[in-house]
Subunit: 130 residues, 4 copies
Amino acid sequence: MAIRFDKREAVYIQVIRYFKEQIAIGEIKSGQEIPSRRELAQQLKINPNTVQRAYKEMEEEGLIYTDGNKPSIITKEMDRIKEIRESLITEAIDQFVDRITSLQIPKEQVFELVQIKLNELGKEDKEKHD
Amino acid sequence: MAIRFDKREAVYIQVIRYFKEQIAIGEIKSGQEIPSRRELAQQLKINPNTVQRAYKEMEEEGLIYTDGNKPSIITKEMDRIKEIRESLITEAIDQFVDRITSLQIPKEQVFELVQIKLNELGKEDKEKHD
Amino acid sequence: MAIRFDKREAVYIQVIRYFKEQIAIGEIKSGQEIPSRRELAQQLKINPNTVQRAYKEMEEEGLIYTDGNKPSIITKEMDRIKEIRESLITEAIDQFVDRITSLQIPKEQVFELVQIKLNELGKEDKEKHD
Amino acid sequence: MAIRFDKREAVYIQVIRYFKEQIAIGEIKSGQEIPSRRELAQQLKINPNTVQRAYKEMEEEGLIYTDGNKPSIITKEMDRIKEIRESLITEAIDQFVDRITSLQIPKEQVFELVQIKLNELGKEDKEKHD
DNA sequence: GTGGTCTAGACCACT
DNA sequence: GTGGTCTAGACCACG
């Protein structure tokens, strides 16, 4: 993961979104430990306080929990994880449909453009692995 | 048009996007006058200065121009308008594909979800017109 | 006279200053008629209302007066004219001394620089007349 | 430093000139930290945002720079500082000569008046220190 | 009545 | 506590 400092999106928000996505796709699993504040801060080259901020918000949202001074753990409530996945998907779909509707792009063209973009990304990925 | 004060997106940015969309779909045409700061501010129930901020940025982007103290006018350069339309589409597609890829949602499911959302909106529209 | 539209100084202020200077140096004399609003506006390529604004302020300051629909006249009170000249000079001197003092430039250097600048301008003028 | 609210000159412009002068005379040195927005705002009894405006413009002019959320620092490029000093002097001289030329004041009288004003200020200063 | 600018206050992200 | 940004209100020059 790489943090973008463009300032378009707050750093701590990027961290949260990264975890949400990783949880949503099962890359990080329920009950699994996450890196310590210092560890992640060092890895991403950001301030530990910023990581702290992200973890705090994640805890408030019920994404992770901590027990004393032990490492934080991804929630074991599968419902919560399902919710996260679904809200991420719904947000993406809703915003997208909202925009293409405003732009009055025909459905067929939209699907075509998405298909093209997906192919492009697929090719890039393949090239990287070569 | 309605401004969302969720605070997720700055008001003046919403105003800019609204104009870009209206220009892109030809609802607002090249050479046409746009409402004065005060007029639009009153309509949207925001401060005239927020509109001013949006207009200023639009002028810097070459979307509109103003001559002295006359009303602002949509640019007459059709190339610029075409550019706007294309960049709006590209942005929407790119962002969307980026998200669904991160979430590893299968292509078929994506298309299905978009289709469902489109149908929902269609129904709402129909109901409104009844 | 030429109006600068740089926007650094309001147009109507430039007009006032022009008249004050002309009066101060005796180029425009006491009791003399000044151009009509329309005339001057056309000459300077500005809006008659802007000239009107300048004249109005000049009248309030006792620089000019008008009698019915006849052309405006430069005041006949010599004291007022003397005052104008003196206030222009005082303003110039005060501001200048204020700045060079803030910048801690030695008096001798100041005089030298002024002398150089005067010589430059003198040369330019001479060249123009050749 | 004292801000004049005569309104003849914008407050933030006065702040910028103050810093330029202080830098020019070496009172504020290269690499030195400048007061935070709030600090200076409180001192001058103006709004922190007005200071912010001044600082922003100073940064765009390369006078100061800031690294993240640390205090702003005076530029370390000595050339830039020299430039500032010289442009301040040139501006002052040019504007002054321009005015006295328009007013057709004889050179000798100008020098005399400047001398008088300098003496006046000198006396005031002396009195203050007594 | 038009656009332009200055000052201000509140809020935010980050340290 | 630091700098950064958004919204707002008042005022100005101009037509």
